[in-house]
Symmetry: C2
DNA sequence: CATTAAATGATATACGTCTATCATTATCAC
DNA sequence: GTGATAATGATAGACGTATATCATTTAATG
């Protein structure tokens, strides 16, 4: 027995195809009686609209807007790069993706771009959230027009979006804590840990920090975190000073950006005996962290796998605009943990061949 | 400008739709001249067949056969469970998946089931490979009929399959090594490590072992591996004896199955001071390893994320049967590393609601 | 009962591809 | 040139849905 079609539903309900269609697509102008009969038939037959046929008929193009912070270099730059590489492939799947760079941490600018995307016609939004009433309001306006919203990397309030795709930052902080505990595993002396972060205001940093402290606090001493604003220069200065002031530091958790500053401060100390240097755990696999791991300056890197995040975000948008229920694991990303000897190969950075 | 259709291609090539179709679908009976003109037109217009329309027209059903070892409990049991849960969702996507249990490590039985699946009509095979000429031959027969073959979890020779979906076992072994190195990081004394494995004959075990040794060998002493045949009882016996014989062991790498035996042997030693106990790294997140980590008997678990493997394997089969080029990262799975404080929630084991 | 509005049915076209049939034209050997 | 074969063109129906039009039936109102 093949999949039931809308014709089958109409027959089962004893109405015409047109009426069944009116119910299915909520076109209105149907008597309540017919409405219920059609719905009953749909339930009875287990009818599922054939989305491919529907899309074919509609000449559907999924128009997705992705708003990414335009921070130069680093994590978001590689995200933008990845996305533009995927663009061609997505086009084949009837997806037209518009990438809009947005000033980072600027709620007004982000809200403006959200409204603009909605105005320009859009079937789905993918946004790196900034927690702010203006942004919430703009996302609310989008969702009021039933435009699906997916937050990427940084989440917003649950009511603001349909799905969050990214790592659980609290768990990531706990992972870092476990790594540092492991490094002190066979060590009698109590550890002294220094967290290094961009800002306690940034929700993702705050969550990582909280998760980290939850686990580490009762087994080790944790110094007050350095807040660097993700600025390498400032990070270098603060960290150099802190290391000088506290020679007993046995571990560092760098949970934000500004890795070059971290490296400068660590490198400066010279490469005396490895066992004596603090254990260093950092986030995000990039050129800087790769090199630092290879050089033995960073012990472990927690990576959120931007490529996978992107494809899951787009998949979620498609599912949402098809009106499918998201399975609960849709947005979950398990971060990868990398060390000196299990580094994945550097992805080829070459642009697409051909015109 | 919208996507070009096959009609556009025909017009561009100056032939009829029928001829363009004959070329596109290799029906034969076309003059070489027309053939090249059509191909040139396809290239010029960048024509891409609309797969959704094609599938609609063909009433296509992807009939995939998944052959999984029928080992009771443990890793493959959870794989089978996952797969049957996904079945309903896949059906919506025009996929009919047949799960066939196969005796583990039995090349003849596996080859037989492969041939049977091919005979029964099949558009794609997903197999946990066993390296053996009989299996290679059966896979070769399948591929001779241009049935795509994906190996899952355990790879076969490169020529036998189109794609391998799973972790890189050598890299996983290196990850385990890095974890153990990290645990000895702040430790002056040279470590003494005992590897515990199912069999050196199993390719995945051998690869993990090799990767592990590559990294660890020059910094620590590695004892000859225990070969347990993945049997918990035997593992318990061998390990208990080994721990008694070598009280100086500082680390264990359990790279196969039989975790309950591992736990019995470790538990038996009593929970004296944690710092004194060997560091334990194991594979596969399951009830046994979860509990052992919670109890502090296992320090880290490397998991290959069976759910993700399955969905990637099916995605690869679809891409292959659509004749698309696989992107090179299609089969790559980055294993997750879990510790006591970053355990993911136990997935709900409930069956699908409704009939 | 007549009048108007609401609900429904019947039907046609389109989306882009696949498949099949049949008529037409080109090509070859002899 | 004749006949046979190969290549091509023209066309129609199907897949399941979306969308629109128009005619018809049903219900509501006075």
């Amino acid at each position: 027995m093949r999949k039931p079609t809308l014709h089958d539903v109409a027959a089962e309900a004893g109405v015409s195809y047109a009426t069944a269609d009116r119910v299915l697509n909520k076109r209105g102008g149907v008597a309540k009686k017919s409405q219920t009969r059609v719905e009953a038939a749909i339930a009875k037959l287990g009818y599922q609209r054939d989305i491919t046929a529907a899309n074919l008929s509609r000449r559907r193009l999924y128009r997705f807007h992705v708003l990414l912070p335009n921070a130069a270099g680093g994590f978001f730059a590689s995200l933008r790069q990845l996305l533009s590489e995927q663009e061609e492939a997505q086009r084949k799947a009837r997806q037209a993706i518009t990438i809009t760079p947005v000033p980072p941490f600027d709620p007004t600018a982000l809200a403006l771009e959200i409204d603009r995307a909605v105005g320009a016609g859009c079937d789905g939004l993918c946004v790196v959230a900034v927690n702010h009433p203006e942004v919430s309001a703009a996302l609310g306006r989008a969702r009021a027009q039933s435009i699906p919203v997916v937050t990427l990397v940084a989440d917003s309030a649950e009511g603001d979006r349909d799905c969050y795709v990214g790592i659980d930052n609290r768990t990531a902080g706990r992972t870092a804590a476990d790594l540092i505990l492991l490094s002190h595993r066979r060590h009698a002396q109590r550890g002294l840990i220094l967290p290094v972060m961009g800002s306690l205001q940034a929700r993702d940093h705050a969550e990582r920090y909280a998760g980290f402290c939850e686990v580490v606090a009762d087994q080790m001493a944790v110094l007050p975190p350095l807040e660097t604003g993700d600025d390498p220069t400032r990070l270098n200065q603060l960290l150099t000073a802190a290391l000088a002031a506290e020679p007993g530091i046995t571990g560092l958790y760098n949970l934000g950006a500004g890795v070059p500053g971290l490296i400068a401060a660590l490198d400066h100390r010279g490469s005396d005996n490895i066992a004596g240097r603090p254990v260093v755990v950092s986030h995000e696999l990039c050129n800087a962290t790769r090199k630092a791991v290879a050089d033995g300056l960073i012990d472990a890197v927690i990576d959120q796998k931007p490529a996978q995040e992107l494809s899951q975000a787009l998949a979620a948008l498609i599912a949402l605009s098809d009106g499918l229920a998201l399975d609960p694991t849709a947005g979950q990303i398990t971060p990868a943990v990398h060390f000196k000897h299990n580094m994945p190969p550097q992805p080829a950075a070459g642009p697409n061949k051909g015109a």
